[in-house]
Symmetry: C2
Subunit: 217 residues, 2 copies
Amino acid sequence: MNMEIKVMKNILDRNQNKANEVRKILKEKNVKMINLISSPGAGKTTLLERICERLSGEFRVGVIEGDVTTDRDAQRLKRFEIPIVVINTEGGCHLDSHSIYKVLDCFNLDNLDVLFVENVGNLVCPTAFDLGESFRLAVVSVPEGDDKPAKYPMLFRQANVVVLNKTDLLHHTNFSLKNFTYDLRKINPSVPLFRISCTEGDGLEEFMNWLSKHLKP
Amino acid sequence: MNMEIKVMKNILDRNQNKANEVRKILKEKNVKMINLISSPGAGKTTLLERICERLSGEFRVGVIEGDVTTDRDAQRLKRFEIPIVVINTEGGCHLDSHSIYKVLDCFNLDNLDVLFVENVGNLVCPTAFDLGESFRLAVVSVPEGDDKPAKYPMLFRQANVVVLNKTDLLHHTNFSLKNFTYDLRKINPSVPLFRISCTEGDGLEEFMNWLSKHLKP
């Protein structure tokens, strides 16, 4: 085994150990953690805005914002007056369980039901790092094209739920719902799929009902 | 220096050495290499289709397609009957100079003027790896949102040219050209910026003129 592979294995092993620790802490505190993964600009933050609008009466919500740099996404969520912590990776391409563990102290977990983690916009690297989440939410958007499940299968294989966002742009692109669904089902036959438009509202009620059900203890 | 940082430095040093070697070979053969970097689904392959349509009379073009898995992008370019080599990274999040060096032999460089490299869709990792390219083309698309230069500054800082694609969707999104340009100019005041729509054709002529000029020996 060469040194690069050895170091990578070492990194992933250590990440898994810390993820297990995070998962244990959150379980003891009855907090669900959701890891949002997508390309840059697929609409993770806008989805979080819709979630906060609709579910923050029902659940006590906190957010961890993972960003290469800036706190722009956190600024957009400020109006909800919920606890938000920004992790700037300073060039890093994904969050890991160590960075999550470090910021858990910033939250009062006794006053929290759900912790959403917005990962760095990237379809590849975040998929290798368990953060200790309860489940993984993959967000993909119509203008990215219908070939994303086939071309980036790792995320779609592990996702516990898939959201296809920006369906309001379906008529302005050559996106084929048939091809998208066919490829996704080959990779992950049973994963729940919701087609939504965070700007127009289509499909949001169905998704929020599913989410609400799965966030309950 | 801990082992991870040491290995990363080692990887980047070795990548730089091999990139210098690639650059030397291509210079001797008078071949320009262009490294295309963008998010998944920003339109790199569609841009390559437009480039092949418009410039393959003027230049002898070859393509290296970097993909995590599948040869779908290469299939889309097959109709141009140009030399295409696919590099599947099998989960890897970027191309490196070693993978480029290895496939150079697949091309007859004496019969080539330009080699386009479509990197893995990712705004973070590919920016750290010099491939030996003549210049770096950053592609970003309107539906990703106007905040990409601010949130992923590495790519925009190093880009030799920036293409804003999918301008046909400007009226269907809340993308602000003013905010996008302001952020981009803060990071890279002088980089040429072209606003184009690969599906509608807007802005393509201006971009192709620039490209043609910069591909000449």
